[in-house]
C-alpha cells in the first residue's frame, strides 16, 4: 500500500490537518478564547526542539557511538532547571519591552542598537540556514526511501532528482505558504501566532507517538524487550565497544561536557526556541509545568533510541543502509507498511515544525532588525510620509519567509550529501551559542556595553566560522583540503581544527573552547575598557532591574521632550493600521480615566513611551526608537543625567523601604509611649491622691493634739480632772498618729518590695487562737460574743506568722469596730477549701454596701456608707490584701445589707499537714 499517490495524499492530508488546526486556533484567538493558553500546549510547543535531526539523526548517531547523542537532551534538562531564574527574567523583560525576536532582545538591551540587531540577524541566518536545509533533506530522503518500497535503496544511489520532481522543493514551498498564512496573517503588537503554536504542539505529539510506535515495535515486536536486544548485541563483537562507550566510541568526557553546555545554550538561543519559549508565551506561570513536562518529553523520545540503533545494526549488514534511516527502514524491512507511513509522517512533522517556527523567527528578525532599520534611514524612500506601512511590513516578512526557505532549498541542492550538511546540527548549535554572552550577560550585568556585545559576537562568530564552517566547506571539497592539513599559508599553528596547537579534542569541543574564549573575552574586555552611553545605561537598568524598574515607572521616566498626540496617532496608524491605533489610544486613555478622543490627554513621557512600546511590538526596538524620534522631539539626556536618574531611582527605592521600616517602628514606639503615658498619668494621680489623703489623715489628729495642748498651755490653773482627760485625748491621738505613720511606712516597704518576709510553715489553728487572745480584751470591753470554729487537723500554710496575724487582727478589730456593743457577735471559722485554707470572719454589723465591696481594699478608701464615728486610716484592708496576695491567696468580702458581713481570705496549703508531722 505504499504507492506514491498514497504517500503524497497522506502527506497532504496531514499538512491540511495542520492548516485546519492552525486556522481553528487563530479563529478562537480572534474570538478571545485562546486554545494555546495552557502549560501543556506551551510544553509541547517547546518540543519543537526535537527536529528531524532528533527523529532520524539520534538513532544514526547512537548506532555509531552509543550514548554520544544524549547530552543534546540532558543539557536542556539541566538548563530548564535554571529557567525559574533566567527565563522568568527574560519573559518579564520581553513583555515589558515588547520584544519581537532574539535579535530585538539583544539590540534593545544594548541601547536599541540597530547595528547589533543586524549582526545578530546575520549570524542567526547564516548559522540556521543549513539547519533548515537539513530538515528539507530529511523529508526528501525519507520520501524517496518510502517510495522505493518494498526495496530499500539509499537516496544517494539514485542520483539527483530533476528540479520539479524534487520533494524538498515542494515541501519548501508548502511550508512557505503555511508560514505566510499563519505567521504573517496580520501585524500584531504582541507578535503572537496562536494558530502556528497550536499546529506545532500537535506536531510534537505526532512525532512523539510515531517514534514511540517504532520503538515499541522494534523492542517488543522484533525482539523480546530491552534485555533481549542488548543481550544479543553483546554477542556481536563489533557492537561490544558501544556497551561502555565513554572514553571510546562516544568520545572523551570533555566532549560530553561541552556537548551538554552547548545544548544548554541552544535550548535558550536557537531562534525557534526563543520564539516559542519567549515571544509566544502567554503567561509566565506556564513555565512551572514546562520545567518538568518538557524534560519528560525529551526523556520519552529518547528511551527507544538505543534499542532501535542496536536493532538496526544487527538487522542490516554493515554499510548497506544509512544508520540515519533505521527508524524508517526497519519497519519497511519488516513489511510494516502502516508503521512505515506513520514514521514518515512523524519525520515530516518533526521537520516541518522546526522549519515553520524557525522561518517565522528569522523572518521577523530580517524584517525588524535588518531591512526596516535600513529602509527607515533611507530618506529618499520618504517612508515617513506614507500613510499606511502595514502592507510594506507584511510584504517584507512574506518575502523573507520565501527567501529563507528557497535559500535553504538551494543550500540543500548544492550541498546534497556533502559533509557540510550532515554535520550541520551541532554546527548550528555552536553558532547560536555565540548569542549567550551578550544575552545572559545583558540581563545580569549592567556593565556590558554595545561595543562589547558587538565585538564579542563578531569575535565568537569569526572563530566559529574559522573552526567549524571552514573545515566543513573544505571537507565538502569547496575549499582546498590542504587548508585543514597544513593550515592557511602553511602556518601549522593556524590549522582550523587544531588552532594554536590545541589537539586531541573533537571539533565541536575545540570550536566551543576557542569561540567562547574569544566571545566572552572580547565582550568583557571591550565593555570594561569603554563606558556606556546614556541610552545603554538606561536600557541596562531596565533589563537587569526589570523586577524593580516596573515599580519606579519603567522606561517612561527617562524620556524628556515634546510631542503631540495627533502626530503620535498617525505614526502608530501607519504601522499598526488606524483601527489598531485607535484601539491602543482608547486603551491608554482608559487607564487614565479619560475618554479619547473627546477628552484630550497630554503627550507626556509616559505616553510617548507607550507609543514607542506599541511600535516596538511590530517593528522591533531599534526601528521603533528611530520612528518615535522622528515625530517626538526628544531632548537628549546626557549620561550623567541618566546616571543621576538611576541613582535617584535606586535610592528612592532604598529610602522608601527604610522609611516604611522606620514608620512602622515609630508607630510601635508611639503606641508603647502612649500606653506608658496613660499609666504614668494614673500613677501621678494616685500619688497626688495618696499625698493629700495622708496629709489629711495626719492633720486630723495633729489638729486635735495642738488644740488640747494649747488649752493646757493657756490654762495652767485647769482642774486636775479635766487636765487628765485632755492629756488622755492627746495620748490617744498620738497613738493614732503613730499607727498611721507605721502603716504608711509598712505599705511603702511592701510596695517598694523591701518588706521582709520570714516564710515558715504556719499552723493556722494556733495562729487564730493567738490572735483571738490578743483581741479578747477589746471584745470583752465591748461585750461582743466571739466564736471560733476550727477543724481538728489542718494542713500548714507557708507564710510569715507575724504578717498573717496582722491580717487577722485587722479583720477582728474591724469586726469589733463595726459591731454594736452588747448585741454584737463575731464568728471566726477555719475551712479547708480545695488546695487552700480559708479564714472567715463574720460579724453581725451593718454590712458592706455592694458598691463598696471592691473599693474598701483600695488605698485610703473607706466605705462611703460606713457608720459615723468608725475611724481608720483606710490603709488596713489594703495592706491585708497586699499581704494575702503576696502569699498567693485572695481576700474578699461577702455581705448582705443589714445582716452583717463576712471577710474571707485564703492561703495555699503547704505540702505536708501539721497533724501528720505531729504523728
Amino acid at each position: 500500500m505504499l504507492q506514491g499517490w498514497i504517500i503524497v495524499s497522506t502527506s497532504f492530508a496531514y499538512l491540511g490537518l495542520l492548516f485546519a488546526i492552525a486556522y481553528y486556533a487563530d479563529k478562537r484567538a480572534d474570538a478571545g478564547r485562546s486554545v494555546i493558553a495552557s502549560p501543556y500546549i506551551y510544553s509541547l510547543s517547546l518540543a519543537v526542539y526535537a527536529t528531524a535531526w532528533t527523529f532520524y539523526g539520534s538513532v544514526g548517531r547512537a548506532a555509531s557511538d552509543g550514548v554520544g547523542f544524549l547530552p543534546i537532551y540532558i543539557g536542556p534538562t539541566l538548563m530548564i532547571a535554571l529557567w525559574w531564574v533566567v527565563m522568568r527574567k527574560i519573559l518579564r523583560i520581553s513583555k515589558e519591552n515588547r520584544i519581537t525576536s532574539l535579535a530585538d532582545f539583544i539590540a534593545s538591551r544594548y541601547g536599541k542598537s540597530a547595528l547589533l540587531g543586524g549582526a545578530v540577524t546575520v549570524i542567526a541566518v547564516i548559522g540556521i540556514l543549513p539547519y533548515i536545509s537539513l530538515q528539507l533533506k530529511a523529508v526528501s530522503n525519507s520520501f524517496t526511501i518510502v517510495l522505493q518500497y518494498p526495496d530499500i535503496v539509499m537516496p544517494a544511489k539514485l542520483g539527483a532528482m530533476p528540479l520539479l520532481q524534487d520533494t524538498a522543493l515542494w515541501v519548501a514551498l508548502i511550508l512557505a505558504l503555511f508560514t505566510i498564512a499563519f505567521g504573517t496573517r496580520h501585524l500584531d503588537a504582541a507578535e503572537h501566532h496562536e494558530g502556528m503554536v497550536a499546529a506545532i504542539a500537535f506536531e510534537s505529539l505526532v512525532k512523539l507517538l510515531a517514534f514511540l510506535a517504532v520503538g515499541v515495535f522494534v523492542t517488543f515486536g522484533i525482539y523480546n524487550g530491552f534485555g533481549d536486544i542488548f543481550g544479543r548485541a553483546a554477542a556481536v563483537p563489533e557492537l561490544m565497544p558501544m556497551l561502555a562507550p565513554l572514553g571510546g566510541v562516544a568520545g572523551d568526557y570533555s566532549n560530553w561536557v561541552w556537548l551538554t553546555i552547548l545544548s544548554m545554550l541552544a535550548i535558550m538561543f536557537l531562534p525557534r526556541q526563543f520564539q516559542v519559549a519567549v515571544i509566544e508565551n502567554k503567561d509566565e506561570r506556564h513555565l512551572n509545568k514546562a520545567i518538568w513536562l518538557f524534560p519528560v518529553y525529551m526523556l520519552a523520545i529518547n528511551i527507544f533510541v538505543l534499542p532501535i540503533a542496536f536493532g538496526g545494526r544487527m538487522h542490516f549488514p554493515a554499510g548497506s543502509v544509512d544508520t540515519d534511516t533505521y527508524v524508517l527502514t526497519i519497519p519497511m524491512a519488516e513489511k510494516q507498511e502502516l508503521l512505515a507511513l506513520l514514521v514518515f509522517i512523524g519525520g515530516l512533522s518533526a521537520a516541518t515544525g522546526m522549519v515553520i517556527v524557525e522561518t517565522i523567527a528569522l523572518s521577523t528578525m530580517v524584517c525588524n532588525d535588518l531591512v526596516m532599520p535600513v529602509l527607515l534611514r533611507l530618506r529618499s524612500l520618504r517612508l515617513n510620509q506614507r500613510p499606511d506601512l502595514t502592507g510594506l511590513l507584511l510584504g517584507i516578512r512574506r518575502g523573507a519567509i520565501v527567501l529563507i526557505l528557497l535559500l535553504g532549498y538551494l543550500y540543500f541542492r548544492v550541498a546534497g550529501e556533502a559533509y557540510a550538511l550532515v554535520s550541520i546540527g551541532l554546527i548550528s548549535f555552536a553558532a547560536v551559542a555565540q548569542f549567550a554572552p551578550a544575552a545572559l550577560g545583558g540581563i545580569f550585568w549592567k556593565g556590558g556595553t554595545r561595543r562589547g556585545a558587538l565585538c564579542g559576537l563578531l569575535a565568537g562568530f569569526g572563530v566559529w566560522g574559522y573552526t567549524l564552517l571552514l573545515p566543513a566547506f573544505a571537507r565538502s571539497g569547496w575549499l582546498p583540503i590542504g587548508l585543514l592539513e597544513q593550515g592557511p599559508w602553511g602556518v601549522e599553528l593556524l590549522r582550523p581544527l587544531e588552532l594554536f596547537g590545541l589537539k586531541s579534542l573533537d571539533q565541536i569541543t575545540h570550536a566551543m573552547i576557542w569561540s567562547m574564549i574569544a566571545n566572552v573575552g572580547a565582550y568583557v574586555a571591550v565593555s570594561l575598557s569603554g563606558s556606556p552611553s546614556a541610552e545603554e545605561t538606561r536600557q541596562a537598568s531596565l533589563f537587569v532591574d526589570v523586577f524593580r524598574s516596573s515599580r519606579t515607572g519603567g522606561g517612561a521616566r527617562f524620556w524628556r521632550g515634546t510631542a503631540s498626540v495627533p502626530e503620535l496617532h498617525s505614526l502608530l496608524a501607519r504601522f499598526l493600521g488606524s483601527e489598531a491605533a485607535d484601539e491602543a489610544f482608547h486603551g491608554y486613555a482608559r487607564t487614565r480615566g479619560l475618554r479619547w478622543p473627546d477628552e484630550e490627554f497630554a503627550a507626556d513621557a509616559e505616553f510617548v513611551h507607550f507609543v514607542q512600546t506599541q511600535l516596538a511590538g511590530v517593528l522591533g526596538a531599534a526601528s521603533a526608537h528611530i520612528m518615535t524620534a522622528s515625530v517626538a522631539k526628544e531632548e537628549a539626556l546626557s549620561l550623567d543625567e541618566v546616571r543621576a536618574m538611576l541613582d535617584e531611582a535606586s535610592q528612592i527605592i532604598v529610602y522608601s523601604h527604610k522609611l516604611e521600616q522606620n514608620s512602622q517602628e515609630l508607630e510601635r514606639a508611639t503606641r508603647e509611649l502612649r500606653a506608658a503615658n496613660v499609666r504614668l498619668t494614673e500613677l501621678d494621680r494616685l500619688k497626688d491622691e495618696f499625698v493629700s489623703t495622708v496629709s489629711h489623715e495626719l492633720r486630723t489628729p495633729l489638729t486635735s493634739i495642738r488644740a488640747f495642748s494649747q488649752i493646757l498651755y493657756d490654762n495652767p490653773e485647769m482642774a486636775g480632772e479635766r487636765r487628765a482627760q485632755f492629756l488622755a485625748i492627746i495620748t490617744k491621738e498620738t497613738e493614732r498618729l503613730t499607727r498611721l505613720i507605721n502603716q504608711v511606712l509598712d505599705l511603702a516597704r511592701i510596695e517598694a518590695g523591701k518588706a521582709e518576709w520570714r516564710v515558715a510553715g504556719v499552723d493556722m489553728r494556733a495562729l487564730l487562737a493567738d490572735a483571738l487572745a490578743r483581741m479578747s480584751q477589746v471584745f470583752h470591753e465591748r461585750r461582743i460574743a466571739v466564736h471560733l470554729a476550727v477543724p481538728e487537723r489542718v494542713p500548714a500554710v507557708e507564710a510569715d506568722v507575724d504578717r498573717i496575724i496582722q491580717v487577722v487582727l485587722n479583720l477582728l478589730s474591724n469586726a469589733a469596730k463595726f459591731c454594736e456593743p452588747e448585741r454584737g457577735r463575731v464568728e471566726i471559722a477555719l475551712v479547708e477549701d480545695g488546695g487552700f485554707l480559708r479564714v472567715d470572719v463574720r460579724d453581725n454589723g451593718p454590712g458592706v454596701d455592694a458598691r463598696d465591696r471592691e473599693i474598701i481594699f483600695d488605698k485610703f478608701r473607706q466605705a462611703a456608707h460606713s457608720p459615723a464615728g468608725a475611724q481608720g486610716s483606710g490603709l488596713g484592708l489594703h495592706i491585708c490584701r497586699r499581704i494575702v496576695e503576696h502569699f498567693g491567696g485572695r481576700i474578699w468580702v461577702t455581705s448582705r445589707g443589714g445582716e452583717g458581713s463576712c471577710f474571707s481570705f485564703t492561703l495555699p496549703r503547704a505540702e505536708a499537714t501539721l497533724s501528720r508531722q505531729a504523728a
Partner: protein, 65 residues
C-alpha cells in the same frame, strides 16, 4: 526569603546535581560493559538518573506551600 526565591534556589541546586550526575567521574563509574537486568549499566544509570532528576524538579515546582 520568599517562596519564589526558595524554589529558584532549589532548582539551581538540582541543575548542579544534574551536572554532577552526568559528568566525570560519576559517569565513569558506570561506564563498564556489565549489565543490569540485561541492560548495559551505563544506559540504565543515565536514564534512571535522568528520570529521578526530572521527578525532583517536578516535586520542587509543584509542591504547595
Amino acid at each position: 526569603m520568599s517562596e519564589f526565591e526558595t524554589r529558584g534556589q532549589r532548582l539551581v541546586a538540582l541543575c548542579l546535581l544534574g551536572f554532577l550526575l552526568f559528568n566525570y567521574p560519576i559517569l565513569a563509574l558506570f561506564n563498564a560493559p556489565s549489565t543490569v537486568l540485561g541492560i548495559p549499566v551505563l544506559y540504565a544509570y543515565i536514564f534512571c538518573a535522568w528520570a529521578v532528576l526530572i521527578g525532583l524538579m517536578a516535586w520542587v515546582v509543584e509542591m504547595r506551600g
